[in-house]
């Protein structure tokens, strides 16, 4: 299972082995990562699972599709070039070691 690390605004790190196929919002909620909320359950309706993908990893996670990109317009924290909604990133073996930064909100 790929290991994913969330780095919080205060520098604290939380890591988890995420089952392949699960999305990284649900993985974060299961690990109680603060500020990754996932109010809509991962159906692209709330933008509360916003994360910044570590620049070294951005190419591997891929870019947001059009619907996700539109939803990134209403994130609470500032949208940056490496912003993603983590419900739209699925755990795959190639993402082992992935680092996500959680916005301070």
């Amino acid at each position: 299972m790929p290991k994913v690390t969330w780095i919080l605004g205060n520098g604290k790190e939380i890591s988890a082995e995420v089952p392949v196929g699960h999305n990284l919002m649900e993985a974060a909620v299961a690990k109680n990562v603060p500020n990754v909320i996932g109010e809509c359950g991962g159906c692209l309706s709330c933008a509360t699972c916003h994360v910044y993908v570590d620049p070294d990893w951005y190419a591997k996670t891929g870019v947001p599709d059009e619907m996700e990109s539109d939803m990134l317009e209403i994130t609470l924290a500032e949208r940056k070039p490496n912003s993603r909604l983590s419900c739209q990133i699925k755990a795959v073996p190639e993402l082992d070691g992935l680092i996500l930064r959680v916005p301070q909100i």
Binding site: E39, G41, S45, A47, E68, D70, M71
Partner: protein, 405 residues
């Protein structure tokens, strides 16, 4: 030990309330009581990805199984509260025991309205979708070639129709009102979804009432409509709305108005009892309003947590909702109650469009179909107390971002 805060109902609202109380620094005992045997889970996927078999139950859980103990929240499952005595600050549980509370929150949700048994509502093969058990009971019957009749063309019914059509069932939706989604949306949105379902070979009967369900032995076999039509049915799913679970409050003498009546701080007519989520009617824009949504469950519960600990702010949400049918994502921002003008904005992709609702010239809601940008900016405008003029909303070439500044 001080008496606990007791939360009755372990759905989205109950969990959000418990989490927020802890986040706000409430350290005393906290008990969350749920009727069902499973830890709190998300209901929206039940009529979508769960019933279709795409998600297993653990992926529905709102919080991990270990979270409750970690937070010092005593989760009591398979437990019902059978009576409430505000005078004694006490609830009676289904096992006969009693529990004293310091403050109580009712997050009891709502239950599906059922068809009367006189017209066949209690037959085998007639289902509603609210709980995990409901979805588990329906799932094995969603099989290609079988016939499903959905009673009620609201969101739940249409979502179930979409899942069943996707499984290769022959699906018919019947709606007594003039059009599907009549209670919740403008004709423009109804017609978008009517076309969508027709493209997926779902048959729609609108403006025709249900006469009765007929059985072979004790299992439903056909559906008779008021216009004389008979539809064969292996399964009937009933989606004709919900009724707030306000019985406990009613029997305890609390004020009831469109659910358990609460004020802007989510407080009922008893100052130590709060109500949140689907069961609570709260003052919003001058009307006792009850919202059936995840957004309201969570936001109102978080608001109530603050109020229980002494905060005075008023709950004043911008409601939002969603529905998934086939490959269409519907996102709704705001509440279209009392709209007097509607404009349609074509989206930038085939099949994407949005419907904008106005009252006296001011934007009050947006239905966005595969058009997240319209939803996003509509929501942003409503949250900022701004309007986007109808002429701009209706002009696909006009920039929404600059319209809200």
């Amino acid at each position: 030990m001080p008496d606990p805060i007791v939360i009755v109902g372990a759905g989205q609202a109950g969990v959000a309330l418990a989490a927020k109380l802890r986040a706000l620094g409430y350290l005393d005992p906290l008990i969350l009581i749920g009727e069902e045997p499973v830890p709190p889970y998300q209901r929206p996927p039940l009529s979508k990805k769960y019933v279709s078999g795409e998600l297993e139950v653990d992926r529905l859980l709102i919080r991990s199984r270990s979270w409750y103990a970690e937070q010092g929240i005593e989760l009591r499952l398979s437990t019902r509260v059978v009576a409430l005595s505000p005078g004694e600050r006490e609830v009676t549980l289904s096992d006969g025991s009693r529990l004293r509370y310091r403050q109580l929150a009712l997050a009891t949700g709502a239950r599906p309205r059922c068809l009367p048994s006189e017209i066949g509502g209690a037959l085998r093969g007639v289902a509603t979708i609210r709980n995990l058990a409901d979805a588990d009971a329906i799932a094995p019957h969603l099989q290609a070639g079988r016939q499903l009749v959905v009673v009620g063309g609201g969101y739940i019914g249409l979502e179930a129709a979409a899942v069943a059509a996707g499984k290769g069932m022959q699906v018919t939706v019947i709606e007594a009102a003039e059009r599907i989604l009549q209670r919740v949306a403008a004709p423009e949105t109804s017609s978008y979804f009517r076309d969508l379902h027709r493209r997926h070979a779902v048959t729609l009967h609108e403006a025709v009432g249900l006469e009765r369900l007929a059985a072979v032995e004790d299992r439903v076999a056909s559906v008779l409509l008021k216009d004389g039509t008979t539809l064969q049915a292996d399964l009937v799913i009933v989606g004709i709305g919900v009724v707030p679970n306000d019985d406990l409050a009613r029997e305890a003498g609390l004020r009831i108005e469109n659910g358990i009546a609460v004020d802007a701080q989510c407080r009922s007519s008893d100052p130590e009892i709060f109500a949140v989520g689907d069961c609570a009617g709260f003052p919003w824009r001058g009307t006792a309003t009850r919202l059936e949504s995840v957004q309201n469950a969570i936001d109102q519960a978080e608001h109530a947590a603050g109020a229980m600990l002494g905060a005075a702010a008023a709950y004043d949400p911008v409601p939002w909702f969603w529905s998934d049918q086939y490959d269409v994502k519907l996102q709704i921002a705001g509440l279209n109650r009392g709209y007097d003008q509607v404009v349609v904005r074509p989206g930038k992709r085939p099949g994407s469009q949005s419907v904008w609702y106005y009252r006296q010239g001011a934007l009050i809601a947006v239905d966005a179909m595969n058009d997240a940008l319209a939803y996003a900016f509509g929501k942003k405008a409503l949250e900022g107390g701004k309007s986007i003029p109808p002429a701009i909303a209706a002009d696909a070439a006009a920039d929404l971002k600059s319209a809200i500044g």
